[in-house]
């Protein structure tokens, strides 16, 4: 039976915790709004890029000298998995659900006899994957110094990736991130970026002239397309992280509240019990005289 003083301390500390989680929730809410705005602002570029790329892809896939970023290396032996997670924890199952998805995929690929390489973005994913797949990790991109994820960050990841692709380090690249559905729902997503996939390759309805040639435009555009997809994934991930943190902190705040209620009842009961006990002692003492 904890003493009254213990209970009081306990209530105090839970109250402090509730203050912290409440503050974290509010910070996450503010950051979420900014992250959503950023994702919104990036949409026109991504959509336009996707449209032109799928048009170009439809007309140049058949070509013998089609760029390898588009048609692949003709093999799918070596897979590069880019796992994007957050730099910080305390955001519910956000990081672990991405990692779980990635881990499932890695085991699948290994069972099929493929070679797997892992590139992690964000500290949390790296920590979790290192335990099982340390020898498969080929690189890590640290975002802890990056205050605001910008296009430059995506460009940096892309450059790294394309450099490795050109060096023949892998055949297929896939990104793992979390798509933002709503504050309470984030969906771990797998997306193949190299070779490029298009949902529905549509040829242009109008006939364009190209300057310089179609092939050169394609070669210039493909790396940008990869960067755009990575950028979009980073932004979605950012919004998801804040959303997940917000709901995690919301339930933590609620749990702390419930706990305070329970502890307060216990505190009151044991105080009452102590008073009753004292009264009984006084009365029986008086009766004994």
């Amino acid at each position: 039976m904890p003493s009254l003083k213990d209970l009081k301390n306990r209530i105090g500390s839970v109250k402090n915790t509730r203050k912290i989680t409440k503050a974290m929730q509010m910070v996450a809410a503010a950051k979420l709004r900014r992250a959503q705005e950023a994702a919104e602002a990036a949409r026109p570029y991504a959509e336009q890029m996707q449209k032109v790329m799928s048009g170009l892809a439809a007309s140049s896939t058949g070509a013998a000298n089609a760029p390898r970023l588009l048609v692949g290396t003709g093999s799918d032996k070596v897979h590069m998995l880019v796992v994007m997670t957050a730099e910080r924890g305390l955001c519910g199952a956000f990081n672990s659900s991405i990692v779980r998805q990635a881990r499932g995929r890695i085991n699948d690929l290994i069972r099929q006899g493929k070679t797997v390489k892992i590139l992690t973005v964000g500290r949390k994913g790296r920590e979790q994957l290192k335990r099982d797949f340390n020898d498969l990790m080929v690189g890590h991109i640290d975002l802890s110094e990056v205050k605001r994820v910008g296009y430059d960050t995506a460009r940096q990841i892309t450059d790294d990736l394309i450099e490795r692709f050109k060096a023949g380090e892998f055949d297929v690249a896939t990104i793992f991130f979390s798509r933002f559905r709503s504050v309470i729902s984030q969906e771990p997503t797998v997306q193949q970026i190299i070779p490029a996939v298009f949902e529905a390759p549509t040829a242009f309805s109008t006939i364009y002239s190209f300057e310089p040639t179609e092939g050169e435009i394609m070669a210039d555009l493909l790396p940008r397309g990869v960067a755009t997809q990575i950028f979009a994934a980073l932004l979605e991930n950012g919004a998801s992280e804040q959303g997940a943190r917000m709901s995690a902190m919301d339930s933590a705040t609620r749990n702390a509240g419930d706990m305070i209620d329970r502890l307060t009842i216990e505190y009151n009961r044991s105080r009452q019990a102590a008073i009753t006990k004292e009264l009984i002692e006084i009365i029986s003492g008086a009766e004994a005289l």
Binding site: Q48, V52, G150, S209
Partner: protein, 136 residues
């Protein structure tokens, strides 16, 4: 009212401009080109340079680098990796871009050395055109 076309200038992080324009001068890969309404459909990559859009209210210049433009009979959409209204551009920004281009040129492999040299020259030309004095 003169014929107009829908002009959009989009950067990865935001939409820079979206308005009705009478004509748009675009720094295409092989030279400047002007998009007027009823232009034949075309797609061109951009070289670093100055894009100028003419609307009924006047003209506005933008710095653009890296990307492409899609022109149809009633639209001109420019996707540029970096893009700023010319008033926002400072000497430091130009110098930073030129330095980056120069570094890329130095490290360039044989097959892209020409492309990177052109990139660098375009960057310098762009700086000069804007009235900045790029240091060499």
């Amino acid at each position: 009212m003169a014929d107009t076309l829908q002009f959009d200038l989009v950067a990865p992080e935001r939409r820079v401009a979206s308005e009705r324009a009478i004509q748009v001068v675009i720094p295409g890969f092989e030279g400047d080109l002007t998009a007027l309404p009823k232009h034949a459909p075309m797609i061109t990559t951009l070289r670093p340079g100055v894009l100028e859009v003419f609307t009924e209210k006047g003209s506005q210049k933008y710095l653009v680098t890296g990307g492409f433009a899609e022109i149809t009979s009633d639209r001109a959409t420019v996707l540029a990796e970096r893009s700023h209204a010319i008033e926002e551009v400072t000497q430091e920004m130009i110098e930073e871009m030129i330095a980056a281009a120069r570094a890329a040129h130095r490290e360039a492999k044989a097959e892209i050395v020409d492309a990177s040299a052109k990139m660098l020259a375009d960057m310098v030309a762009m700086g000069t055109r804007m009235g900045f004095e790029p240091k060499n």
